[in-house]
Symmetry: C2
Subunit: 441 residues, 2 copies
Amino acid sequence: MIVVLGLGTAGIYAVRWASGVNRKEDITVVERRAYPTYSPCAIPMAVGGEVNVEDLIHPFPQTRRIKVLLSHEVVEINPSSRDVVVRDMNTGDTETIGYDKLIYALGANPVVPPVPGAREFLGKGVFTVKTVEDAETILRAVKTAKNAVVVGGGAIGVEMAYYLARRGLKTTLVEMLPHLFPRALDPDMAARVEEHLRAAGVDVRTDTALGEVRGDERVVSVMAGGEEMPADIVIMAVGVKPNTSPLEGHVEMDGGYIKVDERMRTSDPHIYAAGDCVLVSHAITGEPTAIQLATTAARQGAVAGINAAGGDAVYTGALGAFVSAFGGYEVAAVGMRGEDAESAVMGRGRGHTRPEWAGGEEIVMKIVADANGRVLGAQAVGRGAGAVINYVSAVIRCGGTLQDLAFGERTYCPEVSELYDVISAASDVALRRLRPKDYRV
Amino acid sequence: MIVVLGLGTAGIYAVRWASGVNRKEDITVVERRAYPTYSPCAIPMAVGGEVNVEDLIHPFPQTRRIKVLLSHEVVEINPSSRDVVVRDMNTGDTETIGYDKLIYALGANPVVPPVPGAREFLGKGVFTVKTVEDAETILRAVKTAKNAVVVGGGAIGVEMAYYLARRGLKTTLVEMLPHLFPRALDPDMAARVEEHLRAAGVDVRTDTALGEVRGDERVVSVMAGGEEMPADIVIMAVGVKPNTSPLEGHVEMDGGYIKVDERMRTSDPHIYAAGDCVLVSHAITGEPTAIQLATTAARQGAVAGINAAGGDAVYTGALGAFVSAFGGYEVAAVGMRGEDAESAVMGRGRGHTRPEWAGGEEIVMKIVADANGRVLGAQAVGRGAGAVINYVSAVIRCGGTLQDLAFGERTYCPEVSELYDVISAASDVALRRLRPKDYRV
C-alpha cells in the first residue's frame, strides 16, 4: 500500500506515475478538500472573469486500486508502525491506514505578514490566494469594492493586480524589495514589467513595506511606505509557508522545509516527499532550493511515485522555469539571474512575435551564460515569452551553450515567427562578448 | 575582397557574419534584383491580404566596406584568375571583380512541371511563387479570377491554396504523392492538415498528377488525375531547381546541387557556397540533403561568411525545422519522420494552447525516437505547433532523449499553456513503449 498525503500537483503526479510503474500496488490518497483537484494558478484569471470559478475544479479518476479520501485530514503519522491516522472531516471519525511507502505532498499555505491588523481582517477584506473558496470570496468582494491593495510583487500578486485593475478597481501593488519578480528577474527586465503594469492602470510601488492594515468591521486602508492607502480589498501574496507539521520530529528538515535526496526520499526510507514543502537541488548551482511551481511539483511527484512503487527515478534538480501571463503579456524566466551568477556573460536582445512589418508585438529577453558559454538562465517579457524560455530551458537541461541558442534551428514563417528572432538577437550579443575561437553553427 | 553572389537569406547572413568576424576585409555583393532584400516566405500572406506587397521589401545597409551591386547579374566565374565578371542589367556594361574568397549563394528557382501547356501559359494564368513581382502579378490576377488550382502540397502550395480559398476563389490543391507535406509529415499527421484545409474550403486532391494545362490566350483549365478542372489561376509550387549554372565545370556537383564540406567550402578552396543551391549533411542521418529553408540558409551563410573572413566555423548539419502557418493554424516538423526511421519508437499525443476549460485550441504532435530513446524528429499541427517543434529541435541539437522531452521544465500558466502539455502527452506514450529501466526526471 502506497499512501499519498495531499492531492495537489505533486500528489496527482505521484499517483499517476506510481500506478503506471506498478500495476499491483494499492494507492490511497488523503485530501482535506471536498473536491478532488483544481487549478490554483488560474485564480487570477477567474477573478478577472476570464474563466468561471467552477471550471477550476477537475475530476480525478478513482479506480479499483486508487482510492481517494476527500474531506479527510491527517491527524498523525507513525513511522515506527508505518501508518497514518486520518480523520473524516464530515463525521469526525478517525481511521488508521498502514503503508509500505508514504508520499508526503501537503504543499504550502499562503503567509499572512505579521503586521498589525493583517490577521484580524483576514476574510474581512484581507484575502490570500490559494483555494477555490478564496477565488469565490474575492469575486464577491470585488463586486462592491473600489480600492484594492495587492501586497507582493511575484506572479500571483502581479496577476491579481492586473485583473483587479482591469475590473475597474483603483489598484496599488506593493512590493517590499526594489523590483517586481525579485527572485526571478534582474532589475532591468523587471523595469519593463513595471512599465507595462503601470500602462495597464496598476499603481506599482516597489521598495515599499506594508506597515499596518486598518479598518473597522472590514478593511478600510493600509499603511505602506508611510502612506495611508484606501483599500476595500487587500490581497496578501507575499509567499508561502510549507505545510509540514504532521512530519515534524519524524524526518530531517531545513529551514522549515523537508529534506529529500535525489530520489525524493526523506531521512525515513519509507517516506517520500514532493512539491512545495520540500527542499530540492537547483539543477545548475546544486544549492538547496525551495521552488513553489506546479511544474517542479509535478516532476518531483513523478520521482516520488516511481520510486515508492519500486521503480528507479532520479530528480535532476529544479530550473524554476516559469511564466506569468496576464492579458496577453507574459513574464518568464528559467535558471539563474545575471545578478546571482558570478562572472557571467550576458546578452539582451529584442524581437517580435512575428516581423514588425507583419504586425508583430515586441518581446525582450536576456540570456545569462558562464565564461565557457554554458547557458545558465534567461528572462523574457512580452507575448510569447513562455515559449522562448521553454527553448532556453531545453538547452540548459541538455547542457547546451550560447552557440546552441544562437545557431539552433527554430521554425520560421512570417505569420508566426521571425527568422532573426529574440533568441538570436540576445545570444548574438552574449556571443560577441564571449568571443569564441570557433563556431558550431 | 570577399565577393558574395546573391543577396538572399544565405547571402545576407554571409555578409553579416563575414563583416562581424573580419572588420578590415571589403565585401562586394552582386544581386540581380533591383531591390535589396525581401521576404519570399510572406508572399502567401500578401496574396491573402495579410500584409502589403511593398512591406515585403526591406533595406540592406551598405557601409564603407560593404558594397551592394543591385540589378547586376553574374556573367562568369573564373576560378583560375579568381575573379567574376558581372553585368549591369540597366546599362549592359560588364565589370570584372577580383576576389580572395567567393561566396556563392544564388539559391534556387521554382520548377515549372514539364506537362503540356505549363510553360506556354506561364504569366498568362500560370504563376510560380518566388519574387515580389510574382506576388504583384498573382494579386492582379486574383481580382477577377474565380477558380484556382494550386499544384504541389508543400508549405508554399498549402499556404497559397488556403489564402486563395479565403479570398473566395474556388480552390483545388493537387498533390501527386499520397499526402500533403510528403517530405516532412507522416501520413497520419498529414491527414489532419488535409481535414483542416478542407474545412477551410480547399478541395484537396492527393495522389493526383497534373497532366496538362489548357487554355486559349490565358489558362482556362487543367487536367489532373484524369479530370478537367476549370482554372483562371494555376499556382506551380512543385519544388525548385538550384541555380548553379555559373559554377558548372568549376566545382564538384551532385544531382544538380553544389557539394560543400562542413565549412561550406566547395571543391575549390576559394569558393564557398550556401543556401538552396547546396547539398549539406543531415544533422541526424549524415546523408547529403538539400533543404530549401530560410533557417538553414541563414546558418549556412553564417558558416560561409565566418570561414571566408578568416574565422573558423563548422556547420553541424540540417535538421529541417520548419513551420507553415495560415490563418492561425500551424504545421511544423523537425528531423526525421517515423516513416524514414528504422525501428523507431513513436508517440502521438494531444494537447492544447492552454487548458480546454480556459478555451484552449487543440494541438497534436508525434515524436520519433530511436531504440535508445534519442530523439530523431517530431511533427505537430495546430496553433503553437512551431513553438512545440522548436523545443524538440533544441533537444535534438543538444543530443537529448525522450526523457528530456517528458521531464524538461516547460513554463506553465493557464492563460498561455498547459501543465501536462502536448509534448508531455506524446513523449509519455513513446516512453511507455521504450520502457526505460530508470528515469531522469
